[in-house]
């Protein structure tokens, strides 16, 4: 039980410490290598107005919802 409590306290600290060091991570895909990802055909959501509509149709016709959204789709090269 005590180990679990220690783990609960330490886990966020370790996670934050790990993340705070992330700024030194070297991008393995350089900005000048992102031309293909910047092509509109690679956009995760090419037409938001159309996607919103079709998700609505699926949610009306099926019992599931969520998890379809776009977390971004960006490559920093817009």
């Amino acid at each position: 039980m005590r180990k679990r409590q220690i783990f609960r306290v330490l886990l966020p600290v370790i996670a934050l410490a790990a993340l705070s060091g992330c700024s030194s991570i070297e991008p393995w895909v350089k900005p000048y290598e992102r031309d293909r990802l910047a092509d509109p055909i690679m956009f995760m959501d090419m037409n938001p107005v159309s996607s919103a509509y079709i998700y609505h149709v699926y949610e009306a016709r099926e019992g599931a919802r969520g998890g379809e959204g776009m977390a971004g789709g960006g490559c920093g090269c817009n």
Binding site: S23, P48, Y53, I54, Y55, E59, E62, A71, G72, G76
Partner: protein, 415 residues
């Protein structure tokens, strides 16, 4: 400043995770949830639009492009026709703010299997307005949105917030989102009938550049509903020896809470000859015992000024624990539903779409313009919901199946 924003973002992340854990304690999960029905689909669209408005701007450390879309949509299948316009306008103000507005209308003419067997065909109109604002500061984008949906017997309001952070040399985008919705449910035949729903939606999204040809996105979404979640018009049927046909109908009764969980992963790959391949998978479950797997694959192929897309989507789900096509007697169980969308089912969709870029070198203030035509063919096979309109003997009616065509025609302008 970028480092400071990252710390603020991480703090917010911790806060949201903690908030989610508290909100979804075992006690919360133990409450049975429920929703769906024709009316509730409106509120889901409100959330979808709100979140899409937030999601599309999460394009690394830049605001979404200024663009306007004029869309006409038409759904035709299963005795239901729904059509109308949707207009989406997005415009930046200065270098840090982007505003968007959406106007959407559904004009519904319904003689669905539910309607023809238990009620009368009807027409209805729903109007929805959405507004959102994005604020970009460093590598952080903050967004807020509001959506209002109204129809004669249903009103929905949704308020949304999101926070998006680019990290690791803009290889990674992390997005947190939260939305709150409240609905008022009425009945067109009873002005005194009024019930409320509330809904909270938590989302975490991660977009990751994997290689110079491949990008992936992970989305986790938890939605909780509480209130009057069934359709006030829909009925269940039960065995009744006093009825000439052997059964009668009584109103549905759903649990007053529902929690749904969805995890989706989407990846897109750039092919060597300038084309794209996209795959998506989603796992879903909820406190009503619905579990589903959804997968799709799409191929995008540009050719001269055209862009062609072909897509196949597959969905398979189990049914809600309180769904029955035919109950053994009146009030046989605590909760009762016969919404076909809560039945075990399988759906498949085929899509073909084409876009033509008719403005590519600029015209007045417009940089680019496209016209798009998209046609989906949707087929749904219900595994326990029977078609009682056939008049077949009780218990041997064929399982219901539905075919629908979904047409979208839209113009898009970038400026």
């Amino acid at each position: 400043m970028g480092s400071r924003n990252a710390h603020v973002f991480l703090y917010a992340l911790c806060f949201l995770i903690r908030f989610c854990l508290v909100s979804h304690s075992p006690e919360s999960f133990s409450k049975q949830g429920r929703d769906l029905g024709l009316q509730s689909t409106w509120k889901k669209l409100a959330i979808a639009v709100a979140l899409l408005g937030m999601g599309q701007q999460a394009f690394a450390s830049v605001l979404a492009e200024d663009r306007t879309d004029f869309l006409y949509h038409r759904y035709d299948g299963g005795g239901v026709t729904i059509d109308g316009p949707s207009v989406l306008v997005r415009k930046s103000v200065g270098k840090s703010v982007s505003l968007s507005a959406n106007y959407y209308v559904d004009m519904i003419s319904s003689a669905s299997i539910d309607v023809i067997t238990t009620a009368s065909p009807y027409t209805e109109e729903r109007t929805q307005y959405s507004l959102s604002a994005d604020y970009l500061r460093g590598n952080t984008t903050m967004s807020m949105g509001y959506t209002s949906s109204t129809e004669s017997d249903f009103d929905a309001n949704t308020y949304s917030l999101s926070l998006s952070q680019d990290m690791f040399g803009q290889l990674t985008t992390l997005t947190l989102s939260y939305a709150y919705g409240d609905d008022t449910v009425g009945r067109s035949d009873d002005p005194n009938f009024s019930e409320d729903n509330s809904r909270q939606q938590y989302g975490v999204g991660l977009t990751q550049i994997l290689t110079r040809n491949m990008i992936a996105a992970l989305n986790v979404e938890v939605i909780t509903d509480e209130g009057f979640l069934n359709n006030p018009y829909r009925s269940v049927r039960f065995l009744d020896t006093n009825s000439p046909v052997g059964y009668s109908f009584e109103p549905e009764l759903y649990p007053r809470t529902r929690t749904t969980n969805a995890v989706g992963i989407r990846t897109k790959y750039y092919l060597p000859y300038r084309a794209a391949l996209e795959a998506h998978y989603r796992y879903f479950n909820d406190t009503w015992d619905i579990e589903s797997h959804t997968g799709s694959i799409a191929y995008v192929h540009p050719w001269r000024d055209f862009t062609f897309t072909a897509k196949y989507r597959y969905h398979d789900q189990t049914g809600a624990h309180f769904f029955r096509d035919l109950f053994a007697r009146s009030e046989a169980t605590n909760f009762r539903g016969r919404d076909k969308e809560l039945s075990p089912l399988r759906s498949q969709t085929m899509r073909l779409s084409a876009a033509y870029e008719f403005i590519s070198d600029g015209w007045n203030f417009i940089d680019r313009g496209t016209v798009n035509v998209s046609l989906d063919y949707l087929q749904v096979e219900y595994k326990e919901f029977r078609d009682i309109s056939t008049g077949a003997p009780l218990g041997s009616e064929p399982f219901y199946a539905l075919d629908a065509t979904i047409l979208q025609v839209f113009f898009s302008f970038w400026y």
